[in-house]
């Protein structure tokens, strides 16, 4: 059985991406880097969809469409996130997440 013909391969790949992305979200200070990691997470999800679509789904169109929509959502998310990040930078003079510590308790 070939590697690329196995569902699990893709699922684990997605997991790896997800994990890496999550690590980024948890570890990086730079808000933009955090955003990048979030993008990775979304991609991991879409790999899942595509894989299921390829190997299991009754109709191959559905998964692709979902992936497309995820891309669009990701784009929108990126736009908003970036604009907020810029606002953060303007107000706090920094995009280091650890400098946004007004609200606590």
């Amino acid at each position: 059985m070939l590697l690329f013909n196995q569902l699990e391969t893709y699922l684990y790949l997605a997991l790896v991406l997800f994990g890496i992305g999550l690590y980024g979200v948890l570890a990086r200070r730079n808000l933009i880097a955090v955003l990048i990691s979030v993008e990775l997470i979304l991609n991991a999800a879409s790999i899942n969809f595509m894989a299921f679509n390829r190997f299991l789904a009754p109709h191959p169109a559905v998964g692709q469409i979902i992936t497309l929509f995820i891309m669009a959502v990701a784009a929108a998310e990126a736009a908003i996130a970036l604009s907020i990040i810029i606002a953060v930078y303007r107000k706090l003079r920094s995009i280091n997440v650890e400098h946004a510590t007004e609200l606590r308790g």
Binding site: L22, V25, L26, A27, V97, A100, T101, L103, R104, G105
Partner: protein, 664 residues
């Protein structure tokens, strides 16, 4: 349930009217002395009349077939409290006595209490007192009796503490109430046990007749009787001041003197002995109990007589004489129970005692009222003997008290000593005689001091100097304070010069009359009370002994106080230790005070309070604070760091997920 006929309503009126008077005066007219007086008098005269009518009409009722008229007062499931009246010779006689004496005292008080700011309240309380005593003596059921018993305690509390601004007065009132209450708890427990043991005959509540018949019919084992009898005797000894809870009675003279008269003769203290008479068959069912009671009574007798020897306050002397006489009665009853004879002796003594003790107190009242002091030495210094009527009557009373022929006391004491004599153990009668001796001694100590004051400058006065100053001030004050009251009711006005207003003299004379005649009614009374009067053979030895003791006492008193050139010092002065012991009233008060402070206030109360503040309440607060603390702790999770929060969230999520995966 016997039919409700005129007897019932008559008794109801007897009991109800004074209560009505109390209510009316307390709520409406307590600010108006005259009106209150009128109401109270009316409401005590009618019962008096009714009582005598009943006494006359129902004279052929017997102990065996008492007349019972009752209705249900409260019916719970097994607890049934009837309200009704049980009329037999005992209660009929007592009704008459109580009615008469309380009426006389109300008359007397017009003079004595006149002008007192609390006049109305005083009469209200008197009415309440009369009512509770009347319902006590005529109660048909034990619970009703207990209720009136409590009411007696309450009204005595109100009356003793009548001058409540005086701390000692209110203290004495409290003491009386609490101490008697202490006994009553025993009484109540005894009743509860009785209801417990006598479940089956509980149809009409705890009828007195039921108890006696049950005891006679051996429905109760002797052990049960002993237990209940002793418990009930706690109540009795509370009311009629038996050792060791007699301590309230001497203090009770803090109240107005007429009240003491009422208290000491016919009502409060009589209640105890009356109850014992009432339940005589029941008590007789347990020799053990009777022996204990006899012992206690004897102790009481000796204790009080010895204290009486050293008292300086005339009322206190009479008070201790009361205690001793009560002991005497209890001895008589207990002995009768042991010897298997009737309760007549004790009860007869109660009757006569009621007459002459009221007399003595009223006389004392006249002296106090006139001289404004309680110290009979001071009285004699200020010429007590010039007050003719009281001087004569008090002497009569004293003679009766010390049991001199032909006064009433003689006969009743004879009866009791007779019963004691019939006991196998002659120690008791010996002690009884000794008590009689002491009684005579301290009684005549007072009389002689009053009759034969020493001339001024006599060395005997030295030890009373300070009291004399105080009193002479007090005396003047006394006149000042009572001056206006003579105008308050004019009829007393013109008797002022020879001292005694008629309203006060009249009762003295009546009572003196009773004291004189009652003795000769022994046989008919015995017939009336016990059904048969066996003309018991004269026991001349005992007769001689008794009279000898009395006369001996008087003689000793004459030696110490009466005769010209007497030292005016009790022979007891020769043994200072003993004297001091007596003056300190055998340290009973100290004991109780110590007990109260040490245990009730000092230990339990303190411990409970501490526990309440610290442990119970503290625990509650601790819980609350721990909530706040944990909140503060948990709020640390909400750090300001975004990623820390995210980490937490992710970990929880993964944890839950992995847990779920482990499951399957």
């Amino acid at each position: 349930m016997a039919p409700v006929d005129w007897i019932f309503y008559a008794c109801l009126a007897t009991v109800g009217l004074p209560l009505l008077a109390f209510g009316v005066i307390m709520i409406f007219t307590w600010r108006k002395p005259q009106l209150s007086l009128a109401i109270s008098l009316v409401c005590s005269t009618i019962p008096l009349i009714i009582a005598w009518i009943l006494f006359y009409t129902l004279r052929d009722a017997t102990l065996a077939q008492p007349i019972i008229r009752q209705v249900n007062w409260m019916v719970s499931d097994t607890v049934i409290v009837p309200f009704g009246f049980l009329l037999d010779p005992v209660s009929l006689l007592m009704l008459a006595i109580v009615g008469t004496i309380s009426w006389l005292i109300q008359i007397y008080s017009i003079g004595y209490m006149g002008g007192d700011p609390g006049f109305g309240r005083y009469y209200a309380d008197l009415s309440l007192f009369a009512m509770s005593m009347l319902s006590l003596v005529s109660a048909s059921g034990m619970l009703q009796l207990f209720i009136s018993w409590e009411l007696v305690g309450l009204s005595s509390y109100l009356l003793i503490g009548f001058w409540y601004e005086k701390f000692s007065a209110s203290e004495a009132g409290k003491k009386a109430f609490v101490v008697t209450r202490f006994g009553d708890i025993g009484f109540f427990m005894g009743l509860v046990f009785l209801t417990y043991y006598l479940k089956d005959i509980n149809l009409f509540g705890l009828g007195i007749a039921d108890i006696n018949s049950a005891a006679i019919a051996h429905k109760l084992t002797e052990a049960q009787i002993t237990l209940c009898a002793l418990l009930i005797f706690c109540g009795i000894s509370g009311k009629s001041a038996q050792f060791p809870i007699h301590v309230w009675l001497p203090d009770a003279m803090e109240g107005p003197t007429p009240v003491s008269a009422l208290l000491h003769s016919a009502t409060m203290v009589a209640a105890g002995v009356f109850l014992m008479t009432r339940l005589f068959p029941f008590f007789a069912g347990s020799p053990t109990a009777m022996t204990w009671i006899l012992l206690i009574a004897t102790i009481t007798l000796l204790l009080s007589s010895t204290i009486g020897m050293v008292a300086r306050d005339i009322k206190q002397v009479w008070a201790y004489s009361t205690v001793s006489q009560l002991g005497f009665m209890a001895m008589g009853l207990a002995a009768a129970g042991l010897a298997g004879s009737t309760m007549f002796a004790g009860y007869y003594h109660l009757t006569t005692h009621a007459a002459f003790k009221a007399l003595l107190f009223l006389c004392a009242g006249v002296f106090i009222h006139h001289f404004g002091t309680n110290d009979f030495f001071v009285m004699s210094k200020q010429g007590g003997r010039k007050l003719l009527i009281p001087m004569v009557t008090v002497t009569i009373g004293a003679l009766a008290l010390s049991g001199i022929f032909p006064f009433a006391g003689f006969f009743s004491k004879e009866a009791i000593l007779g019963v004691l004599w019939s006991l196998p153990n002659k120690l008791w009668v010996g002690l009884g005689l000794f008590g009689a001796f002491l009684t005579a001694y301290y009684t005549f100590r007072v009389i002689f001091v009053l009759l034969f004051p020493r001339p001024d400058g006599h060395p005997a006065w030295e030890e009373f100097k300070d009291e004399l100053e105080a009193a002479s001030g007090g005396h003047g004050h006394g006149h000042a304070s009572h001056g206006h009251e003579e105008e308050a009711h004019g009829h007393g006005g013109h008797e002022e010069h020879h001292g005694v207003p008629w309203v006060m003299a009249f009762p003295l004379i009546v009572l003196a009359g009773f004291t004189l005649i009652l003795g000769f009614y022994q046989a008919p009374l015995e017939k009336f009370l016990t059904g048969e009067s066996h003309p018991h053979e004269m026991n001349y030895l005992l007769l001689v002994l008794a009279v000898g003791c009395a006369l001996g006492g008087i003689g000793l008193a004459w030696l110490d106080w009466g005769r010209r050139g007497a030292a005016w010092q009790g022979f007891i002065r020769k043994m200072p230790v003993l004297e001091n012991f007596f003056i300190q009233k055998w340290y009973m008060d100290h004991f109780w005070r110590w007990f109260l402070n040490r245990f009730i206030y000092g230990t339990f109360s303190r411990i409970c309070t501490y526990n309440d503040r610290r442990v119970v309440d503290g625990g509650v607060d601790a819980v609350a604070f721990s909530c706040i603390g944990s909140g503060r702790l948990l709020s640390l999770i909400q750090t300001a760091l975004l990623q820390l929060n995210l980490l937490f969230m992710v970990l929880v999520l993964a944890g839950v997920g992995i847990y779920l995966l482990m499951g399957r």
